[in-house]
Amino acid sequence: MSRKYLISFVLAALVAAAAIGVAASRAQGSTPLPSISPAGLLAKVAAAAKSPVPVSGNVAWTNGLIPGSDVASLLGGQGSAPNSLAGLAMGGSGRLWVQPGDGARLEVQGNGSDFIVVGGKDGIWSYSSATGTAVEYSHAAGATAPSVSPRPSAAAVDPLAGITTALQRFASTGTVAVTGQQTVAGRQSYVLTITPAAGATTTFGSAQVAIDGATYVPLQVQVFAKGDTTPTLSAGFTSVSYAKNDSSLFSFTPPSGATVQHKASPSMPSATSGGAEPTPVKHAPLTLAQAQAKARSYGLTLTVPAKTAVLPFEGATVTAARGGHGASAILHYGRGFGSVVLVESTGATGPSGGLTQQLAKLPGGLLTTTTIGGAQAHELSTSLVDVIAWQRGPVTLLAGGMVPSSTLQQFVAGVR
């Protein structure tokens, strides 16, 4: 009989241990945080970003922009890790380490294989154990001397710094509010909600950023399209730690037997922050006349919207042809979330030409072909972002923004 009691005791102990475990994990971080103003919170986030702390943990991200994401992951096999940066954009989960001074590391685990991205003193690398391929990313396409080409800084792959920068930038173009508190990754966090300014014509509904109430590190970002209750884009920690990690985690040496490739740095924002918006303009923007003159000196004749266009011109940057890329110009129209970016470039390898090729690779159904102003154009329309690409003589044009398709088509029709 005593054995029966022993087993009952063991079972009761197991149930009790499980209950205590659940209760302990719920109890963590349940104390409400003091209330804070949106400006105060943004200032705290900016201050925390100036003296960053090591952050690591499990992360998960989703991408609802392209409805085929689920299908693609199904075709890729259950639980298999992606083996390229492009594969990351579809959504997934993994582990992230960010350490000031050392760099950042992302690891996506699949069934029997890992995909890692490391940015640190050895440059930016990705490694897929499924294919045994290590890829080094460098700024210029220095195929002849990869070791001499400048290495992108580790900050380029730090998603947290990217989110903090984007947060401050977007906050200035919309309405910011602290809409509550929530436990994210076991941490009591403030929820900062950014909504577009009233009257803006945009598909952007809101962005909700969960900010750790103690460390002011952004732990989760959710982007909602207008009228949607489920986020179109989301990325965040499911568990987080602020403990320092070994520096060796951020260095990378291709293992013996691996195939080593060198590639020009891809457009990082789309890969690391889940499709963040246009690259920030570093130089003082040019006026329209300056941009046209500069582009002409590079052999690029700009076609710009007529004065009656829907959105006012805001500024431009023009870059010369280099490293196999044609000359290109980026023109900004409108302010805030309803703004539209127009990219014009020569040569198929220019930024917009490259993107057109990327668009052409998308599965059928996503891309529609329309005729705008007598020219054939390709349009990619999602709930959040709309992109139209078309060709005018030697120049490839690409317009995009978080605007409804009709607004973008109207804008494109005005480009003459």
Partner: protein, 270 residues
């Protein structure tokens, strides 16, 4: 203990024990041969990738590569066979009746049956590991292994991680074995019990394969079976491993408690 040693004698006297072990041993040998020949084939494909691809450069990783293939089907199959045969097999031949007429506790009989099945699986796993290591060493040599996360560790560390992986899979397979033993207390046919256990494992695997049933995943022991692969990504995330071991422990204790309850009150009529 006396019961257990008697059971072991029986185990080593049975031909089917050796058939199962031979089956387990042949897998790492075939795998090594296939990878070796593929490496020398000018039209070679990339293979299944992952651990298996890493093993193509390093015999040290052959044991863990073998376990990725085995843990899906052959190991659960053998575990349910051995788990169910221990009890129901004796019922089939009628020997259990003679056994239980002696003044021995039924709990002791059940424990010795469970123990001998566990030892059987342990020997099987040891054979896979040694077979893989020897074949891998002959074909590719032993080098400092590259982990899934791209780091290279020492040979000692590699062997240690392989051992931990095997111990984890071992505990997972004991779940299947305990399940088969529980079913064996309900029936007098060892084949029925083995098939029942295997059906449960396959159903659990299917439930785990569809994202709709994701909410069930933490409670299915089968969805934790691959968590040992976390050992091959440094720094090791121990959380899924501990969760897996806890789940296995709860399954084993519950299944064996149920088996004990059923076996104690079972009428032996054969």
């Amino acid at each position: 203990m006396k019961l257990l040693s008697r059971e072991l004698t029986k185990l080593f006297a049975q031909k089917r024990s050796y058939v199962g072990w031979a089956g387990l041993l042949i897998v790492p040998l075939l795998m090594t041969l296939a990878i070796y020949l593929n490496g020398h084939n000018p039209h070679r494909d990339n293979g299944p990738g992952g651990v298996i691809a890493l093993a193509a450069h390093n015999g040290l990783l052959m044991p863990v590569a073998a376990i990725t293939l085995l843990s899906a089907f052959l190991l659960p199959l053998l575990a349910s066979m051995v788990g169910s045969y221990q009890l129901a097999g004796e019922a089939e031949t009628g020997t259990i009746k003679t056994w239980l007429m002696h003044s021995i506790s039924r709990g002791g009989v059940l424990a010795s049956k469970w123990g001998v099945a566990v030892i059987y699986v342990a020997i099987g796993l040891a054979l896979v590991a040694l077979g893989g290591l020897v074949a891998g060493a002959l074909a590719f040599g032993l080098h400092a292994p590259v982990l899934l996360s791209g780091q290279t560790v020492g040979i000692g560390q590699g062997l240690w991680l392989s051992l931990l992986s095997y111990l984890y899979v071992f505990v997972g397979v004991i779940c299947v074995l305990s399940l088969a033993l529980l079913f064996a207390t309900f029936t007098n046919s060892s084949l029925t019990a083995a098939i029942e256990a295997l059906v449960v494992v396959i159903v659990m695997n299917i439930l785990g394969a569809f994202s709709y049933f994701d909410f069930l995943k933490p409670y299915l022991f089968t969805s934790h079976l691959d968590a040992w692969q976390n050992l091959l990504s440094q720094p090791t995330d121990w959380h899924p491993i501990i969760t897996g071991l806890t789940t296995f422990a709860i399954y084993i204790v519950t299944l064996m408690a149920a088996a004990w309850y059923q076996f104690r009150r079972k009428d032996i009529l054969v």
